[in-house]
């Protein structure tokens, strides 16, 4: 039985490699092989190389006799990376699987269902932790000669770490499931948690190099201190180096934790997997209803769709958060920034203002809400098509939502830039005007892209939001224009004052906006009506 379930689970995990969900048909063999190669390349060369570089930068502490500290530090990163990568898939894989009801009504033991589900989680954790640990082991053996003991330790290291990742993912997945049953505004909480993760990620990323330098410089002090105050962590590090007693203790502890975790989860699995949210139902009481115009209703529909989906908000609206954060940063560090930039670009100050505008363009380009909005109609398209709403009104609502989400953060960011960098009045006014015009242009461009390569047959909203070609064009088109705006001034800056250059860009953006608007109002309407 377990073999059948494992086969089903593996088919599900690797479905994307064998089946094209956008076209709703099986991939060709060549396409499957290509996807596997691309995945291997991404994992081994890009991610692996990043952690290889990290391991290499830490390698001096191995020569100092602190190999255990080296392994401890990298194992900790592997655990964090593995848990971060698999905790949400544990929750959805275990408790939200669409076939839970189907399997539970078949003569299959709960343990077998859980084991097959956890295989996916384990593979995910193994993959993420191996990306950190394999380069770590390679760098270790470049520095230290191999012997039987340290080879055993190195071989068992990914196994113990991945099992620990499995236990921790299960525990966190269980907590997420329990919280989720009681949560009312899941979308906003998910977005908030994701934003905190992003902030932490960037904080750690920017601090990493100085931290590693500090760590290597004081490795002896840290090492001795950790060994003295947290002996258990010393044992963990030593186990990776092949100390057999430590290895036995660590493997036993990890297996014990896994056993207890699985026992606790299996006891509550059916209850959580089959229960619906226990959020207190607020029964509707008949009350006065408020009416809106047709356009107001259609715009509100787009807004509801956007705010109800964490995927939509995070993938197509994150630029708004970046703009606000950038504005605050620029205001706080204004004096220092102005001084540093003026010194760096002495005699060519215009590039500072044009560069700032290009950066704001860049952040606006990340908000491509209109691009997936046509495909997102999906199976509900019949509704808007059967209602007496002109197609122009529908498209206008998609356009305006993107403009509304962008307009306040971009003006805020542009104002902050003007206040902090203090350009002349003309350049200041043009900075704000250009950002507003780019908001309009990019919304039109996103909708233009969204009206091409439309996919209404998706089963997961992530497909139109993240994986559509139209979305790719909308984002990269905007990013390309941002880059071109900045780069072009490097060549033209010697001949044009910034406000002249900005006026030219403004004119171009307005002309292209008019052209895009005309396309959407004519051809775009026809495309939508023929869906």
């Amino acid at each position: 039985m377990i073999k059948v379930l494992l086969k089903k689970q593996l088919t599900e995990i690797f479905k994307a490699y064998f089946f094209d969900m956008k076209k709703n048909k099986a991939r060709s063999k060549a396409s499957t092989v290509l996807y596997f190669l691309l995945f291997a390349f991404l994992m081994l060369f890009i991610m692996g190389a990043t952690f290889g570089a990290l391991a290499f930068s830490l390698s001096p502490i191995i020569s100092m006799g602190f190999g255990w500290l080296y392994y401890l530090f990298l194992s900790l990163i592997a655990v964090l990376f593995g848990v971060f990568g698999s905790v949400f898939s544990t929750y959805s894989g275990l408790y939200l699987a669409k076939d839970n009801d189907l399997l539970l009504c078949l003569p299959v033991r709960v343990g077998a269902i859980m084991t097959s589900r956890l295989l996916g989680v384990y593979l995910m954790g193994l993959l993420y932790s191996s990306i950190v640990l394999i380069p770590a082991v390679v760098i270790y053996f470049i520095t230290v000669p191999a012997n039987l003991e340290n080879v055993i330790g190195a071989v068992l290291l990914p196994v113990t770490v991945s099992l620990l990742v499995l236990s921790l993912s299960c525990i966190f997945g269980y907590i997420v499931a329990r919280i989720s049953l009681k949560l009312k505004n899941k979308s906003f909480v998910t977005v908030l948690i994701a934003l905190i993760f992003f902030a932490l990620y960037y904080f750690v990323y920017f601090k990493a190099s100085s931290f590693i330098g500090e760590f290597i410089k004081n490795a002896v002090i840290y090492g001795e201190s950790i060994k003295e105050k947290a002996y258990i962590t010393y044992i963990i590090g030593r186990s990776a180096e092949g100390d057999l007693l430590s290895l036995f203790a660590v493997v036993t502890a990890v297996l014990l934790l896994l056993f207890i975790t699985l026992f606790v989860i299996s006891k509550s699995f059916i209850k959580i997997a089959t229960s619906t949210a226990t959020v207190k139902k607020s029964a509707y009481k008949s009350k006065k209803q408020h009416s809106r115009t047709v356009f107001g209703a259609v715009l509100s529909r787009e807004f509801s769709r956007f705010t109800s989906s964490p995927n939509y908000m995070l993938n197509c609206g994150l630029g708004a958060v970046f703009m606000v954060a950038a504005g605050i940063f620029v205001i706080i560090k204004g004096a220092m920034l102005r001084e540093a930039l003026t010194e760096q670009f002495a005699g060519f100050e215009g590039i500072i203002y044009v560069g700032a505008v290009a950066l704001i363009f860049f952040m606006i380009s990340l908000n491509d809400i209109a691009a997936p909005s046509v495909s997102l109609e999906g199976k509900t398209l019949w509704q808007i098509r059967s209602l007496p709403v002109p197609t122009k009104t529908v498209l206008k609502s998609k356009l305006l939502l993107q403009i509304y989400v962008n307009v306040v953060p971009s003006v805020f960011c542009a104002d902050c830039v003007v206040i902090a960098l203090r350009p002349d009045i003309m350049t200041g006014i043009l900075t704000v005007l250009l950002c507003l015009t780019f908001v309009l242009f990019h919304a039109l461009f996103s909708l233009y892209c969204g009206l091409h390569k439309i996919n209404l047959n998706w089963t997961n909203e992530v497909v139109p939001i993240k994986q559509g070609l139209n979305v790719l064009f909308a984002i990269f088109g905007g990013l390309g224009i941002s880059l071109a705006t900045g780069l072009l001034y490097f060549f033209l800056g010697a001949f044009l004052r910034p406000w002249v250059y900005m006026t030219v860009i403004l004119a171009f953006l307005l002309i292209f906006s008019v052209l895009l608007y005309r396309f959407i109002n004519n051809k775009g309407v026809k495309i939508f009506e023929e869906l």
């Binding site: 619906t276 949210a277 139902k281 607020s282 029964a283 509707y284 008949s286 009350k287 006065k288 209803q289 408020h290 009416s291 809106r292 115009t293 047709v294 107001g296 209703a297 259609v298 509100s300 529909r301 509801s304 769709r305 109800s308 989906s309 999906g378 199976k379 509900t380 019949w382 509704q383 098509r385 059967s386 209602l387 007496p388 709403v389 002109p390 009506e529 023929e530």
Partner: protein
């Protein structure tokens, strides 16, 4: 009231609807029956403007669905066979959205929501997101939304699927009320007993072609509708 003249629609080589003509008058409950893939849904979707068609004309009191779709759609309501509603809205938000589109006054929508949500026992669930609704609840919500703006013609594709017996009974009564008030109902169904008891007129479609239509008596004579339907289906 509703005139379908020589309607033709093809998907590639296959003719889904072939030269179909029908007329539905005020006060009529018109049943539309046929085997799976006969062309019922394609016809209904063409009538309510969801699907374009290759030939023919569809008018409602002289207003053409192709020439003036907005005026046409203002007079009708459509309930599909599988009500994929906006999962991201709550029930009450959805009803208000539909009422806004049709310009239903605040007082009128309040009264109608109260009345129909009460009939279908959905009042307590209106604050819940549609994603939490069962198939039957979605079907009930779609029916309430269709009745909100007092349409003159209601088009329904398999409306009784997923409804509990009490809700089915209520829907049948509501259909009669619409016709008594001078409106009309055009619906497809596979439940021939329901069609036989409920409809004034019936049309049978086979492989895209209309093979029989008229009053219930004209179509079935002394036999049951099921017998007539099976005999017609058996003919080559």
């Amino acid at each position: 009231m509703l005139k379908i003249e020589h309607l033709t629609k093809s998907f590639g080589e296959k003719k889904a609807v072939d030269d179909l003509s029908l007329e539905i008058n005020r006060g009529e409950i018109y049943g539309f029956i046929g085997h799976n893939g006969a062309g019922k849904t394609t016809t209904l979707k063409s009538v309510c403007g969801i699907q374009s068609f290759d030939g023919g004309e569809i008018t409602l009191d002289g207003i053409s669905i192709t020439a003036d779709p907005i005026s046409f759609k203002k007079q009708i309501a459509y309930i599909p066979d599988n009500p994929d509603l906006y999962d991201f809205m709550t029930g009450i938000k959805y009803l208000n959205f539909i009422a806004d589109i049709f310009g239903v006054s605040e007082k009128e929508r309040e009264e109608k929501i109260k009345k129909y949500a009460g009939i279908f026992e959905l009042t307590d669930d209106l604050n819940e997101p549609i994603s939490a609704y069962s198939h039957g609840m979605k079907q009930k919500l779609a029916i309430i939304s269709a009745w909100l703006h007092s349409p003159r013609l209601i088009i329904m594709d398999e409306p009784f699927v997923g409804l509990d017996p009490k809700a089915s009974h209520s829907l049948k009564e509501m259909m009669r009320e619409v016709c008594d008030a001078g409106g009309a109902i055009f619906f497809s169904t596979h439940v021939l007993e329901v069609a036989e008891k409920l409809c004034n007129k019936v049309a049978i479609i086979k492989n895209g072609k209309l093979i029989k239509s008229g009053t219930m008596e004209e179509v079935k004579g002394d036999e049951s509708l099921e017998t007539v339907f099976l005999e017609l289906e058996a003919e080559k």
